[in-house]
Amino acid sequence: MEQTLLNGTLHYLGCDGRHADTATLSLARQAIGTMTALADFRCCEISLSDLGHTPDFVLKPAYATIAGFVAEASLFAATLGIRVDRKIKSLGTVDMSAAVAANAAANAILDARVEAALTDGQVLFCPGYSGTDMSDVRHVLQLLDAQRRLGIFTSDSGMMIPEKSVAGLLLKGYRFSCRGCLIASKCEHLRRGLTCYGRQD
């Protein structure tokens, strides 16, 4: 886990283990320690079959690419809690580089914790992927009662608070594609022949 978090943090900082110098490694390790202590990981999941119906937003044309996976899908949300946000903000006041490292570490911790919460073959498909509407995240959170259960709020513009939160559909056997991705034209991963989900598309 420790190495996973370090790799993830370095990845979010724009470098990887092969290139990172001692100072960056030290900063990343410190940030991982701080954020791990503050992270209050919570998640919840409801299968669509237990929910008793298929939510309307999933029936939109943009979700056609996942249509074959919906029968076994679940709604899912997870968060690291508000203390992580506060710490990043507070670090940013006195030491911006520590804040950036903490931000990266929090992302890596969330990724790792979500990954650990998934069962074999499941992937998390979030609204916003593949041309779907990012604001559909509201529906996911509402159906999960995520505000009460996890403390995930949405702002008027549809942002999740705490920032280190994710929400979407767990799909079994689904393979991601960069088609429709908003930032494909400037994606660092694609330039290097990679994808953000860790394998060649």
Partner: protein, 776 residues
């Protein structure tokens, strides 16, 4: 207010939502709409709770408030009226009390979210004003944010005298979602004068036992509990809970034993559950005394006032030109840094004073309080000579602050003792009055006794008063030190806490630190509890740590050991260039002093700082250094620019130009914008940072006021790019033709052009390149 103490167990009702949500009549409706559409269902449920043994009914109004009531064709007022009418009908002919139920707004409070304290207050006030004449009391429940709870409690308290019950929810870690503990909730709600406090919803009845046990020693008030029926599970569209009624009753009895005196149920409970716990009704409950100790807190840190604490003194503009200028410019970065530095150095709480001649102290103290609480977890001591400013700041403070100060004059006591009583805040009490500072200890003690007596008339116990024995410099009269020490001794005989502003003792004398340290040790021994001092002075902190270790206050000498074993290694660099490249911010001052012996500020910038930043930029482009180092170097260069700018004749000289930056309306992410800010500053630009969630009008106003060379707008998400476009359109419609650069995760060159921006900045370094281009 409750008119009699609760001496026997009382029964609250159970769930409304989970009892209604599965009904066919509820499908497609907000549950509160049933008050009008199907009042017979609600009335029947109320009656079943009464038959089960409930002493209190909760109206079906959890989501009724101006903020939360959306997407309904019915008005919130008429729905609230119906909720009360139906509960009243059910309770007719019984002694059962009808409590108006209010849940949280569903919005995240500032500073993490965008819902303000005032909005939260007004939301509840509107409801209270509408219903207060027709109910027996209010229950505010399921709050997970202490700050919103505080606003709601004040809105009820200030608009009705009816009983107020307030309950919060805690997760499995024993904290609210915003990090408050049960102890903090108990101290804060007790200070605000609710009638009953407690816990609802959350997890299972079993986990409530620990929460009640933790609250119990910190409040004399009745505690109520309304747990869920365990954890919810969903199957075939229906929700189930994992406790039986008997199990629920078993744990309810444990809750009563732990100190709860009003018990009921939340999600998943039913009239059968309430019937199962009604057998405890009338059981005698203990009466609990007020806590023997005095507490202050922030939303996340509770502090018992006791001997050996450190109150940080540095958030005070007196004698601090830089802080004064920053406060006048409403630039709170400096204040926030001072707060965090004191926290890191070991302060236990911080004095906050913004007293500057000819400024609106009330507004400024409120802003400063919010800004410090935004980043710093330590409790605050709000310090002002203006009662208005103090009350305004106490009001918007998150937690329970200490205030500094009242004194023995009638004017001060008349103005502030009611405030202390209303908000339950401990207060510093100065042993002086309208005639000034008595020369003798006896004179000061007489004033202290007068304050104690007058406070008692307001219901304020002496434990809430922290007496300042008053320190005056020995340089004007050598007996001043002895007078303070004698006063401290006598104050302890009155059974009160003591505090002093330490550094006054040495004013006007050389090598003040020696006198301060020695006087501190003497004062501790004679009765001083808390010094107000500079926690960044490591030597004097050592004296406190050593005293606490030697006197047994610091158990196992833990803090002493920790303080003296923390790493102090600082990397060294030979010159300013390498210090900036290595990002060694703390060393640049020394190097600049050295450089200034042979060079002008202008040449240091052009010959050393800019080349150093260029070097780091090139390494960043080549990916031999990464974002953290880039920022560290930028921070070091920024510190260098700040020092050099003081060497110019005019304040703004040395800046290449001003840039206004903001994260646009609707977007609360700001780390990217903050990186850009640091990097721009490091290259010599003056940055006016408007913060996050900034509306277009504010951006336009800043452009008019600061006359910048460019505007930078940031947005993280697609949902807020519209706000960015709207802001640019607004600037153009006002004839503000300044270059606008935009940046953020979802933006591209194409999107930037599409929304009318002049430049797209992919990263912080690019933004500086754009500024250079504009400048040329």
């Amino acid at each position: 207010m409750l008119h009699e103490p609760i001496s026997r167990v009382r029964i609250f009702d159970g769930a409304m939502g989970t009892e209604l949500s599965h009904l066919p009549e509820a499908q497609g409706h907000m549950l509160e709409e049933l008050n009008i559409l199907h009042p017979e269902i609600i009335e029947n449920l109320h009656r079943r709770y009464i038959e089960a043994g409930a002493d209190y009914l909760t109206t079906n109004s959890f989501s009724i408030s101006p903020t939360k009531w959306k997407n309904s064709p019915l008005g919130w007022q008429e729905t609230a009226d119906a909720a009360i009418a139906v509960a009243r009908r059910a309770a007719q002919g019984t002694d059962v009390k009808v409590m108006f139920d209010m849940g949280p707004s569903g919005r995240m409070m500032e500073p993490i979210g965008d819902y303000t304290f005032e909005q939260a207050y007004d939301n509840v006030r509107a409801v209270v004003e509408h219903v207060r004449d027709r109910v027996d009391g209010f229950i505010i429940e399921t709050f997970s944010d202490l700050y919103e709870m505080r606003a709601a409690v004040l809105a009820v308290r200030e608009n009705t005298d009816l009983p107020l019950f307030a309950t919060m929810t805690f997760d499995a870690s024993g904290r609210t979602l915003t990090g408050s503990t049960p102890e903090i909730a108990a101290v804060t709600l007790t200070a605000l004068g609710v009638d009953v406090l407690g816990i609802n919803c959350s997890t299972s009845p079993k986990t409530f036992v620990d929460l009640v046990q933790r609250m119990r020693p910190l409040t004399h008030l009745p505690i109520m509990t309304q747990p869920n029926m365990g954890l919810p599970m969903m199957k075939d569209g229906k929700t189930f809970y994992n406790y039986t009624d008997d199990e629920f009753a078993h744990w309810t009895e444990r809750l009563i034993e732990a100190g709860a005196s009003i018990v009921g149920g939340c999600c998943g409970t039913s009239p059968a559950t309430i019937a199962a716990i009604a057998r405890f009704k009338g059981r005698e409950v203990s009466q609990y005394p007020a806590p023997a100790d005095t507490y202050i807190c922030s939303a996340t840190q509770l502090l018992r006032l006791q001997k050996g604490l450190i109150c940080g003194e540095r958030l005070n503009p007196t004698g601090k030109k830089k802080l004064k200028e920053a406060l006048l410019a409403r630039d709170f970065d400096y204040l926030q840094k001072e707060a965090l530095n004191q926290e890191s150095a070991g302060a236990d709480f911080l004095d906050l004073n913004v007293g500057i001649a000819n400024c609106d102290e009330k507004a400024l103290l409120c802003q400063a309080t919010r800004k410090v609480q935004e980043v710093c977890d330590l409790p605050l001591q709000l310090d002002s000579s203006s009662p208005d400013a103090l009350e305004a700041a106490i009001r918007i403070y998150n937690g329970v602050p200490m205030i500094n100060s009242i004194n023995g004059s009638d004017e001060s006591m008349d103005a502030l003792l009611p405030v202390v009583a209303k908000y339950g805040t401990p207060t510093v009490a100065l042993t002086l009055d309208k005639d000034g500072i008595p020369e003798t200890a006896d004179g000061r003690i007489a004033i202290a006794q007068r304050i104690i007596d007058r406070a008692a008339r307001h219901g304020i116990d002496r434990r809430q008063l922290v007496f300042d024995a008053l320190v005056m410099t020995v340089s004007s009269n050598q007996s001043h030190g002895q007078t303070t020490l004698r006063t401290l001794e006598a104050l302890k005989r009155l059974g009160v806490l003591t505090i002093v502003g330490l550094s006054n003792i040495s004013f006007g004398l050389p090598e003040r630190a020696h006198l301060n340290r020695t006087f501190l040790a003497m004062a501790f021994e004679r009765g001083l509890d808390i010094p107000i001092m500079n926690p960044l002075d490591r030597d004097i902190v050592q004296t406190v740590r050593a005293f606490n270790a030697l006197s047994g206050i610091d158990a196992n000498c833990e803090r002493y050991i920790a303080f003296n074993t923390a790493g102090n290694a600082t990397e060294q660099a030979d010159d300013l260039f390498h210090a900036v490249v290595a990002g060694l911010r703390d060393t640049v001052g020394r190097h600049i002093e050295h450089e200034l012996q042979t060079a002008t500020p202008e040449s240091i910038i052009s010959d050393v700082l800019i080349p150093a930043l260029t070097e780091v930029g090139e390494r960043f482009e080549k990916k031999t250094v990464f974002l953290p180092q880039l920022i560290q170097s930028a921070e070091a260069a920024k510190a260098a620019f700040e020092i050099l700018s003081t060497r110019y004749a005019r304040n703004d000289a040395g800046h290449k130009g001003t840039v206004v930056i903001a994260t646009v309306k609707g977007d609360v992410h700001d780390i990217g914008k903050n990186i850009v800010k640091v990097v721009m500053q490091s290259h010599g630009y003056k940055v006016v940072d408007l913060g996050k969630n900034v509306d277009k009008e504010t951006v336009a106003e800043a452009c008019r006021r600061h006359n910048p060379m460019a505007v930078g707008l940031s947005a993280l998400m697609t949902t807020t790019v519209d706000a960015m476009e709207d802001t640019i359109r607004h600037l153009r419609s006002l004839g503000i033709g300044l270059p606008v650069m935009v940046g953020g995760a979802v933006l591209t060159e194409e999107i930037a052009a599409h929304i009318g921006a002049d430049y797209y900045a992919q990263d912080a370094l690019t933004s500086v390149g754009i500024l250079e281009k504009i400048r040329q």
